[in-house]
Amino acid sequence: MNSALRRLLGLLLLAGSLGFGGNVAEAHPHVWITATSEVIYAPDGSMTGVRHAWTFDDMFATYALQGLQTKTKGVYSREELGPLAQTNVESLKEYNFFTFAKADGKKAKFQEPVDYYLEYSDGRLTLHFTLMLKTPVKPRELVLDVFDPEFFIDFTFADKDPVRLVGAPAACQMNFQRPNDGTANAQKLGEQNFLSGDNSNFGAMFANKIRVECP
């Protein structure tokens, strides 16, 4: 009886964990973005916004371009891509543009994106857009996280010049941190969430962290 009971518990645990574990493993990326970002500063030394350039993986790019009518097949001008760029930024709003800013630990909010456009070259589709802060900040420590909390999109910053500071005071120090290498950490967190049932901020471990310190 005891062993049967133990078997039942095992089965329940297995069934429960596989069937009802929430969104942990459901969340695996379907879209890959290679990003570069610029942190923009005003002449007075306050941080005013971020400019992103996100290049999509070929599968998503193909999907996004599907059905678009162009003058020349396979060539997409910036104008022809205009409506798609519009859709992109509007959609991104729902996800807070996957960009989360904190000035000295306090959340800083962005305005609607400006200067947005899509660029298609060498078979690569890149979305450019600029997020201006609602109110410029001048913190000692600025932290910018770029990631998808649900991990549907994988953000990887470019190998070369992933993040640049534009017009920042000379004393400011930038430190860019990539997400800890996926597997080991994902494993640990996966188990943890799994048992605690909390995976609300599951994607956080995939966050790219930009930290700027200005004394």
Partner: protein
């Protein structure tokens, strides 16, 4: 998000046509499933599953990403080298298995349904394969119609995806309501004074018995299991049918194993489960299909999608068998059908039914996270 209020007429029309055609095809598909479902199934019950593995989730995550990322390059390779299609198919199969092994509403709904409705492991396997097949069909039909025939934009497709998604969640919720209604009745009956239970049980079995001859042969084993009851009926008007069914289809597993008793409602209710779960295509499959289509290799994408579905089905079926085994074991432990044990099992069934409803409502309201459609 991408469905804007000020959307153009073209977009609305394209979306409407897309959704209408997809739904029409789904209806046909549903009808085909209904016909197929008349086929009797039976056989030995597969044994329960293994112990849970450690580090499972993280490992799955890593494998999934890896495998999925290889797909686009493999499709590109297949353009010049036909043998790469085999690589694509094996990748798709692996992806299907890994993708489904992660928690997701499809498995959850199917497993809960199986537990709630006292289904057999075999039926669980059939349901798993049917819903995965339907999911693949929906993805292929959707991309085939929207992207290939209508040359719709990603925005339109995403709109169609969203409409289907909401339909799927609403169906799951409706299905849950129905299960809760039925199972709630059983639970309430079990809550009544014990001496009433046998009488009610006989009444219920009598109903099932009549049901058997109309629909399928699994329910038959239900009646067969309660020996005393059957004896009474052997002399009744159903005698002939009974013997007939017995000879033809019940050569296997005569033991009154509770987990082999198929629940009332039969295939028709199972079909609702398949439909509710399978109607929603997987975002990954849609991306692969569109990519393959634009590389001029739509057929390879279609093959990949179905192989992906096969992989998914294997995993979901495994989970379904685990769920059914757990239920069977719980039933045996709780002391089968008498008194408190019966009450406990009716309670378990009711809880499982409630879980289906909760999932449906949770998905609809966004409390339960599911894979998002590729809209952006």
């Amino acid at each position: 998000m991408s469905v804007r209020p000020q959307s153009h007429l073209d977009f609305a029309r394209g979306l409407a046509v897309c959704v209408a055609v997809v739904l029409a095809v789904l209806m046909l598909d549903g009808a085909a499933h209904l016909l197929m479902a008349q086929t009797p199934f039976g056989g030995p019950r597969p044994s329960g599953a293994e112990q849970p593995a450690g580090g499972f989730v993280g490992w799955l995550l890593a494998r999934q990403s890896e495998v999925y990322r290889q797909m686009s390059s493999t499709i590109l390779a297949a353009k010049s080298d036909g043998s790469a299609v085999w690589t694509l198919l094996s990748i798709s199969f692996a992806y299907g298995i890994f993708h489904a092994a992660g928690p997701g509403h499809g498995k959850a709904v199917i497993s809960s349904y199986l537990v709630a409705n006292r289904e057999t492991a075999w039926r669980g396997i059939v349901l798993s394969f049917a819903s995965a097949l339907m999911q693949s069909l929906v993805a292929v039909v959707m991309v085939g119609i929207c992207a290939w025939l209508l040359n719709a934009t990603a925005k339109t497709m995403c709109g169609a995806e969203r409409v289907i998604e909401i339909a799927s969640y609403a169906l799951i919720a409706a299905f849950g309501v129905r299960l809760v209604w039925t199972k709630g009745g059983g639970f309430l009956r079990a809550l009544r004074p014990p001496r009433l239970v046998p009488a009610m049980a006989v009444a219920a079995q009598h109903h099932d018995h009549g049901h058997d001859h109309d629909h399928d042969h699994h329910d038959h084993s239900h009646a067969h299991a309660s020996v005393a009851h059957d004896h009474g009926h052997d002399h009744g008007p159903h005698d002939h049918d009974h013997g007939h069914v017995h000879d033809e289809h019940c050569g296997h597993s005569h033991g009154p194993d509770p987990s082999e008793l198929a629940g009332p409602g039969g295939w028709r209710r199972g079909l609702s489960a398949i439909f509710a779960v399978g109607i929603r295509p997987c975002s990954g499959a849609i991306l692969v299909l569109v990519f393959a289509l634009l590389q001029g290799l739509f057929w390879a994408g279609v093959l990949a999608t179905f192989v992906m579905g096969l992989g998914t089905a294997i995993t979901v079926a495994t989970i379904a068998v685990v769920a059914v085994s757990a239920r069977g074991l719980a039933q045996r432990l709780s002391g089968a059908s008498d008194g408190g044990g019966a009450l406990f099992m009716r309670g378990v069934e009711f809880a499982a039914a409630a879980l289906v409803l909760l999932f449906g409502v949770g998905l609809l309201l966004g409390y339960v996270a599911a894979e998002r459609p590729t809209c952006f």
